[in-house]
Amino acid sequence: MEKKMKKALPQPLTIDSMYEHRPRLWWLYTLIILLIVLIMGWSASSIEFKGLATKGIEVAKGVGWGLIHPDTDLLLGKIGEDTTIEVIDLALFELHISTEGVPYLLFQTVAIAILGTLIGGILAIPFSFLASDKIMPKWIAFIFRSVILLIRTIPSFVWALVWIRVTGPNAFCGVVTQAVCSIGMISKMYITAIEDLDTRILESLDAAGCSAFQKIRYGILPQIIPNFISTVIYRFDINLKDATTLGIVGAGGIGAPLIQCINSSRWSMVGSYLCGMILLMLIIEFFSTRIRNRLAQGSR
């Protein structure tokens, strides 16, 4: 044994000898680089640059110009003479708001994301409990995992186009689409939270003579709830970004007017929609990271 050790190690253990006997993996690196080059060569074969489109430079200039000169009336949602006005009955008072203005569209987008994420988060709870190996028998867990996988397979746009047949092209379609689409990722993250549960706490609660309800209230919920809320907030960020584009297929929100304006090259309007969107995203991201950090630290 000792002889082998002596043979394997360079005799005097100096820095120089260790440096000389450093592991040499050049053949592995060459292989990996070769593989990457091959894959890239194969992939780049069908992507060819055909030059700019006939109106390409004009479009690029227009977008830049629009971002610097946004249509302020639209951005602030001013009610002009020819704007369509929606009256929203809020029980206490009625809200008169221009449906073309950026504020209304942004609020609608946020509303879609909030409702979609909340419903998705609630629907994911039974799914995740049924799909976790720890609680359910293996075959039931497998069935529910496959269902979650099937839901995740269908892209959000396809879900939206299918739901449109049920709800018609409006914001409600966006809500149900996001609710269904969120189930996949949220329940995947719920499952990891459930499987990381510290079960020793339950045993000590048992020893203290707690009832089943008390065990759930004081042993399980405090562990799970911060995790779940953090997951939902994380998904809300993603959903908000998705909600801005779901409008392209007619599911409400800011997407549809934005694409229409791009198609008809009204750049100052495009600029105001983009400015509103960027501002909203930055604000929401700032707050969501702060809330999630506080949840992770445990101080509420």
Partner: protein, 316 residues
């Protein structure tokens, strides 16, 4: 001696000033302040937000119950892809001649494949994969230098870091489809526009994740190199690159996983790939074809996700 339980006035949060904390007297005579729970406030805000959202989106569960059968009908057709529409009635009886039976059996499968939508979907599918591979690689390569410059422990100039991070944030907030729409208008319809869109998107995501992880590395080696007289690039190259390489490659693989899914819908705005034929099939209401396309996409996503998850486990 100052009492422990009375905080200076300006330190008390607004909520505690409105709803003063309850005082609990312990058996040994000390008093402890228990702040009121924030839960009622959180619930109140949540209820108001949900109420407003319902009003703004026209949420109505009744519609789903009334017209839900539409959904099940379409989903039933999607989950019955035409690649599985085998016609086994022409098969000879099995026990007469098993070898001939197997020949005929594979013949039927081949014919079903040829008659289905699958052969037409292969080229867009390959385009989607190629777009996301090239886009991820380009975006990840571009992101590395920007991430290094945007991390506070290497770039000590606070103003340049702030400006760069702001720009990176703006790039990240733009939805992929909007970028793809602009690219399709600028570079013409096709895969190139999609590749550029994915590059921009990957660039935004990876540069953010990278500067966050560069800030957590051990700076000892870097500082030692600086003390020896190396310039910033040399010390970064020898001191830091080995520390961030595994995280960097695992982020690259992760973004490749995401990009395959994202690239599949870029065709909706004319940026090449599967989206175009998905949109077309839904427009024609041929949901069995759609099922075939989604099945093929699903298999590709599954293969790439599993490979990359395996590689990522090896890296960490």
């Amino acid at each position: 001696m100052r009492k422990r339980n009375t905080l200076p006035e300006y330190n008390i949060p607004l909520y505690d000033r409105i709803f003063p904390p309850t005082k609990i007297t312990l058996p040994n005579g000390h008093t402890v302040l228990k702040p009121r729970s924030r839960q009622p406030l959180i619930w109140a805000i949540l209820v108001i937000v949900i109420f407003l959202s319902i009003k703004l989106t026209g949420f109505d569960l009744g519609i789903i119950f009334a017209r839900g059968n539409q959904l099940t009908k379409i989903l039933g057709r999607i989950f019955n892809p035409d690649i599985f529409h085998f016609n086994f009635s022409t098969l000879p009886p099995f026990f007469d001649n098993p070898i001939q039976w197997f020949g005929a059996f594979f013949d039927v499968i081949g014919q079903t494949y040829k008659a289905s939508y699958a052969p037409k979907a292969i080229e867009p599918l390959l385009d989607t994969i190629k777009m996301s591979i090239v886009g991820s690689a380009l975006g990840a390569t571009l992101a590395l230098p920007f991430a290094v410059v945007a991390s506070t422990n290497i770039n000590r100039n606070g103003i340049s870091v702030a400006i760069l991070r702001f720009l990176l944030n703006i790039i990240r907030t733009l939805p992929t489809l909007v970028i793809a729409k602009f690219c399709a208008l600028i570079f013409g319809l096709g895969t190139f526009a999609g590749t550029v869109a994915i590059t921009v998107f990957t660039f935004g995501v990876i540069s953010k994740m990278m500067y966050e992880s560069i800030e957590t590395i051990d700076m000892g080696a870097y500082e030692a190199m600086q003390a020896l007289g190396a310039n910033k690039f040399q010390s970064f190259w020898t001191g830091c690159i080995k520390q961030i390489a595994p995280t960097y490659f695992s982020y690259c693989l992760y973004s490749l996983e995401m990009n395959i899914r994202a690239a599949a819908i870029l065709g909706f705005v004319g940026a090449g790939g599967l989206g175009l034929i998905i949109d077309e099939r839904i427009g024609w209401r041929s949901y069995e074809d759609l099922g075939t396309i989604l099945l093929m996409l699903f298999i590709v996503v599954l293969i790439i996700e599993n490979t990359s998850q395996y590689l990522r486990k090896k890296l960490s």
